[in-house]
């Protein structure tokens, strides 16, 4: 049987670059989103989607890879980067009322947005965001859409409509199988993400980005954001930055000095 063209949605998040200091600000301790980029863990999700569609003739054969983000106006940069890497189109869910959404309300809004995209075969996400780092959203999105979820996949294959993935736990590895439609979150072991090339950057300029407001996805403002969220941050304390301690250069007895240090710290 001929493989049907695929409609894949990849979740991409615009997050503060982890290379810089990150800060919580304001009354509600929200993350300062300056100096943000496409989350590097989402590049693995994009790569997984593109590898699957490349195998089936890519966009020319009617396969779609939609990069979907939810975030402030600036978050469209994550979608643009995804289009440069190879996604076929982008969707940006953006609304003032979404600010401060926790995983529960973020997954609610993402589910509503996915429903506007018609039948989706596969949703691929990164293993976690690099800012919130809870890994809650992929599973909650799957639960809301009534899709099976394969989380933390370190490999992912699609054969016809059968998805096979491996999950590496601490003391056991599992091979998992599911039939489309399904949601998969992939780890940084799953593949080697491609970089955007010159051709991709030019092509991205012609690709379509759809912006969706809360009204467009049929949600009211009090279902999301700070009001709709079911968790709240009461207080935040910045930890004092670590500072360098004693640094010695080995002059033949550093191993002994190491033991002296551990003994002085009562660690041995």
């Amino acid at each position: 049987m001929e493989n049907a063209a695929l409609n894949i949605v990849v979740l991409v998040k615009y997050v503060p670059d982890t290379q810089f200091d990150r800060h919580l600000t304001g009354e509600n301790h929200r993350l300062d989103r300056n100096e943000s980029i496409l989350s590097e863990l989402d590049e693995y999700a994009l790569e997984a989607a593109l590898a699957i569609t490349d195998d089936r003739g890519g966009a020319k054969a009617g396969n779609f890879v939609t990069a979907l983000t939810l975030g402030p106006a600036s978050a469209v940069a994550a979608v643009k980067k995804s289009l440069q890497i190879g996604a076929t189109s982008g969707v940006h869910v953006s609304d003032e009322a979404l600010a401060g959404s926790d995983a529960w309300s973020t997954s609610l809004a993402l589910a509503a947005a996915v429903r506007t995209l018609g039948p989706v075969d596969l949703i691929i996400t990164g293993m976690s965001s690099t800012d919130g780092e809870t890994s809650l959203v992929p599973t909650q999105l799957a639960a809301r859409l009534g899709l099976p979820a394969i989380t933390f996949a370190s490999s992912l294959e699609l054969d016809g409509t059968t998805v096979t993935a491996r999950r590496d736990g601490d003391d056991v590895s599992e091979d998992i199988q599911a039939t489309l439609p399904v949601l998969v979150s992939v780890t940084d072991q799953a593949n080697e993400p491609r970089y955007p090339n010159f051709k991709g950057i030019l092509a991205a300029k012609k690709k379509k980005i759809t912006t969706l407001s809360l009204a467009d996805i049929g949600l009211s403002a009090d279902a999301v954001g700070h009001i709709g969220s079911l968790t709240r941050v009461d207080s935040a304390a910045e930890r004092p930055a670590r500072t360098a301690g004693t640094i010695i250069t080995d002059a033949g007895d550093a191993g002994i000095q190491l033991v002296d240090f551990l003994a002085a710290q009562k660690l041995i």
């Binding site: 998992i176 301690g245 550093a254």
Partner: protein, 322 residues
Amino acid sequence: MTAIVVFIDQINASGTLHSTSQQLLTLARSAGEAVVVVAGPVSEDLAAELGVHGVARVLHSEQSELADFLIAPKADLVAQVAASVSASAVLLENSPAGKEIAARVGVALNAGVITDAVTVENQGGALLAHKSVLAGSYMVQAQATSAVTVISVKSHSVEARAAAQTVVPVVERIEVTFGPASLGARIIRRTSRTASGRPELEDARIVVAGGRGLDGDFGPVEELADVLGAAVGASRAATDAGWISHAAQVGQTGKKVSPQLYISVGISGAIQQKAGMQTSKVIVAVNKDSESPVFEIADFGIVGDLFKVLPQAVEEIKRRRS
């Protein structure tokens, strides 16, 4: 008293109570009445241990779906029990499975979910969770604003203590209705890895971690770990190279550890590595390059060849002990 549901997984398990579960039960007791949900069988040993922790009520299911499909059926079990006992909170261990159950219970019960809690305190019935965020740069206090609170709790959040009074739990076997999508991701093969016999990374008081500088030979790191009774960790460069299991990876996409002592060996200290270890109490670094970023966060740093420094330290520890 309000019911606090604690989930214990006994699928492919030993039939005894893991230390993390003991901690969750201690926590649950401080906030209400612990009701335990078990996926799989409840052995006599387990029931007795639960009794020592003051657990009067245990609900469990041995339906085969719990073992045959990925996580979702376990979440159905937890959510249905939590609803039936009108639980005010659900506590889970902070493993990938624990967090996924938390996520699903959150959707099923319209409950706020907090992951990675390092401590949980009961303030007049509200559970306040403390967690470290942004790679350890902030400590926040968070709480759920919903009727039900779901928290996945890291190990060592509290010291496990037995209840003042031992009880004999009533163990009730139940049947759960699984959602159609819960039976969509089937486990077709399980491959066990052999245990190293060393402490678990996230539980260990001391971690000795090795990186690319080990050049394929984890021997020096393992020997130091063994004289210190430490767990062995690694950088992604070392796990990617296949020198050690991926389960040993410390960092942004590996384990997040905060032991009393972290000894970093032949690791440069990239931002993703730091994200998993910079909340350690004391950090020691051994690296031959004095410019390595790891020295910026080390309490004690040695610029030197690990193949000389580590064996010497191991000999010295043995000498002092004999």
